[in-house]
Amino acid sequence: MRRGERGGWAALALALALGAVDASAAGFLVQAHTEAQAYEVRSFRGTDPTAPVLLPRRRIAQYLGLDGFELLPGQDLTFESNLRVYADFGLQRGEAALLDGVRTEDADLLHAFLSYRKGRFQARVGRQTFADATDVVAFDGAAVKYALANGVGAELYGGLWVKGASFLGSGLTQPDGIRESPTPATSPVLDDAEPLAGARVSWSNALGSGVSGAVGYRRAWVAGKTDFERAQVEVRYGRGLGVGAFAGAEVDLYRLGLSQLRAEARYDAEAWAISGEVRRSSPVLSADSVWYYFASAPRDEANVRADFFHTAELRSYARLTAQKLSTVINRDPSAGLLLAELDPRTFPSEWSAGGSLGARLERPRWHAALDATGLFGAQGRSVWVDATAGLGDRRRSRLTADARLSLAYLRDSLNAQLRGLFAGAQGWATYAVAPQVRASLVGEVNVNPLTRFEAKVFALIDLEARL
């Protein structure tokens, strides 16, 4: 049985199981969101550059959410779930079988957990996510949390990491750098179950100082070998408006290095806010990936952003950014690298700088926004301008209409074909068929020097019902 078919039967079984829950519970929320896309993507297959092969995309994705609250009378016992079913009618099964990470149809259970809370104790069982300042993981298992009166809390969690090859699993939070499924050319155990365990101790507003923070640890194994081992620490300060600060870091304990770092200071006033941020980031790679052991450097970035609240309806912002890429060359003579003999001054620039400006006006019956972003340096030159405008309030108007115009002037550092003016226009309309059902139709037209002309159509249906 193919994986997608297994997913469909499992989804049906889950729906039947949920349907068996006693409907006398306090309440249920059912949500459905359906999105259809139809367009073609230019490919670079074949041998004739003047006759590109166009790949059809005919996708439909549906999200089905079922939440139940107070499942036992008087008890804070809830169930939350989100199932995605997906099909790409433009992709043949035979072709999909050749592409790791692509499926013609699939079902992913993004989360489904029972949550129980009583006093200071909280527990979750099922497919869930755990997030800290530097990463998010999804796992099938259990998590418990206990909070003391003075704001100190402790969490323990463990289970199986949700991977692309897991049952009804999405690979989004799976460590990167390896395929989702085994192939003859790679390790035969990439889809092995991956147990993970973690703990976190946190404190909130310690001694009334406004300082909160957490220290965490997470480790995962594949076939008994370590795949991931990291520790996180985060500290933040805030006492309402005024000065706020945050610092978070992740240490890779497997290779003993700082893998992620982010520090931010901000000042929030009623009419404006300003923040400064420095950040170091590295890809989160599986220890099974050979890339994890290559000479590479994290990306460093600094941003300053100011927000201005001119009126309740008009806001604007300005942002400055500087980025630095670092070059790591193995200069050990035994490495045999000719690069080591080059003068680093001949290397391309490591720096980029740029900024953004934008404003948004939100009136009761219409809204408009303008954003402009530029980045110049190591990555080439790019200027993006984006203008949007719309009529109606999506939450309250029966009919809303929006339009968007995007312009990009590009001179990419790596790909010589990404040069010139790229323009796109988009329009979409949303109509409330019923109070809890909204349907949208979106059209898009693009003109650029590479693909010349493109047109796309999207259709969306939103449904939300409370029982």
């Binding site: 009419a271 952003r305 001119h310 984006d386």
Partner: protein, 384 residues
């Protein structure tokens, strides 16, 4: 840019007014001067006695004629007698002519969309001025004299009083806050005391805030809202500009970290690239036209002559860009082997000093090592 930012700062306004989702718009067609009354000897309870025992936000706690008549002789004024203080209808109801209308224009004072208990606050000795500080200097009080969230959080800090959002904001079944009211949508606005203002392009900038305090986000948002955007299947139209499929390589060079919050490089990116004929490791039936997105292919992978346009430099600077198109096999073609000192056969891609840590790494997970090297070679180098 800096000058423009300064100009914007100078043009910054007073910030947002009270949210209509919390305090609906009022209409109070009255003449009244709080400052005058307080100077004249009245205190808050003279007129707002009901607030002491009020347990619901829906309670109006506003004075009616009986409270006013403690000082204003309304009956005498109605008989045409002179009173001090003035007590005729127009003294408080401007323009009201009882010979024309039977009642003055109605006071519209909708209940706030909050959970609030005056009685508890009074019992805890919270003075009226703590929450209504501007009233003594105000003539007619309105929405702006009602407390902002920043005022509440002075005490509701999680220690002196609960900091849970649902302590004050109405919640839906399940505990999340109710967001939609007839008077507006509840959303963090400019000047939000938690710094959570959902300003322009918040869909692109919320990440750092969400990472710092996810629990606060989950007070309003379901986890499914995060997943529907962050799991890379939907196409959130406000996130990517038009024509992003064509132009995205230029965009990601400046912001690859943001891409990974929704797309796994080896799943979403590499697979699509292989289907489109970009990348070296696709099935032979999908083989690319070899368009060579890299400039000057000879120096890009050169082994006899190299310059600054070499893939080794690009890879060391941002490995993510390699991983989004290539599979590991791309690298293993040249970088795998046991003769690491022979230039023409293999080139060592590890960082300097790697051999010092190889023993520790091999002992914990030797599987990636064995993809390129034999066990004999690992032993020979002292790695096992």
């Amino acid at each position: 840019m800096i000058g423009l930012a300064f100009a914007l700062l100078c043009a910054a306004g007073p910030g947002a007014d009270r949210s209509p989702a919390v305090y609906p718009e009022q209409s109070v067609p009255l003449l009244f001067d709080h400052a005058q009354h307080l100077t004249g000897g009245a205190d808050c309870l003279t007129c707002h006695e009901a607030a002491k025992s009020s347990a619901r936000a829906e309670d109006r706690n506003l004075p009616r004629h009986p409270e006013c008549e403690q000082c204003h002789d309304i009956a005498a004024a109605a008989d045409g007698k002179p009173t001090d203080p003035r007590s005729d209808c127009q003294a408080c109801h401007p323009g009201f002519d009882q010979t024309v209308r039977t009642a003055p224009p109605a006071v519209l004072f909708p209940a706030p969309n909050l959970r609030f208990n005056h009685q508890v606050h009074v019992q805890r000795k919270v003075d009226c001025a703590v929450c209504h500080a501007s009233v003594p200097a105000t003539s007619l009080a309105g929405r702006t004299e009602l407390p902002k969230m920043a005022t509440c959080l002075r005490c509701h800090d999680g220690r002196s009083a609960s900091a849970d959002c649902a302590t004050c904001h109405p919640a839906e079944p399940g505990g999340r806050l109710r967001l939609t009211f007839a008077s507006g949508i509840l959303r963090p606005a400019a000047g939000n005391p938690l710094g959570l203002d959902h300003g322009p392009r918040y869909e692109l900038t919320h990440g750092p805030r969400a990472a710092q305090d996810r629990a606060t986000c989950l007070a309003c948002h379901r986890q499914s809202e995060c997943e529907e955007c962050h799991d890379g299947t939907r196409k959130p139209l406000s996130v990517h500009p038009n024509d992003f499929i064509t132009a995205h390589p230029a965009a990601i060079r400046g912001n690859l970290t943001g891409c990974e919050s929704c797309h796994r490089l080896q799943s979403f990116c590499a697979a699509c690239h292989e289907r489109a004929g970009i990348g070296m490791d696709a099935d032979p039936t999908l083989l690319a036209r070899n368009l060579m997105v890299h400039r000057d292919p000879d120096s890009w992978t050169g082994t006899s002559h190299v310059d600054g346009n070499h893939h080794g430099i690009a890879a060391s600077r941002d490995l993510r860009q390699c991983i989004s198109c290539h599979r590991e096999e791309s690298c293993l073609r040249c970088h795998a082997g046991d003769q690491l000192t022979t230039r023409l056969s293999t080139v060592n891609p590890h960082p300097g000093g790697f051999r010092r840590e190889c023993r520790s790494l091999v002992s914990r997970n030797d599987r990636p090592c064995l993809r390129c090297h034999t066990g004999t070679a690992l032993s020979g180098w002292g790695c096992r």
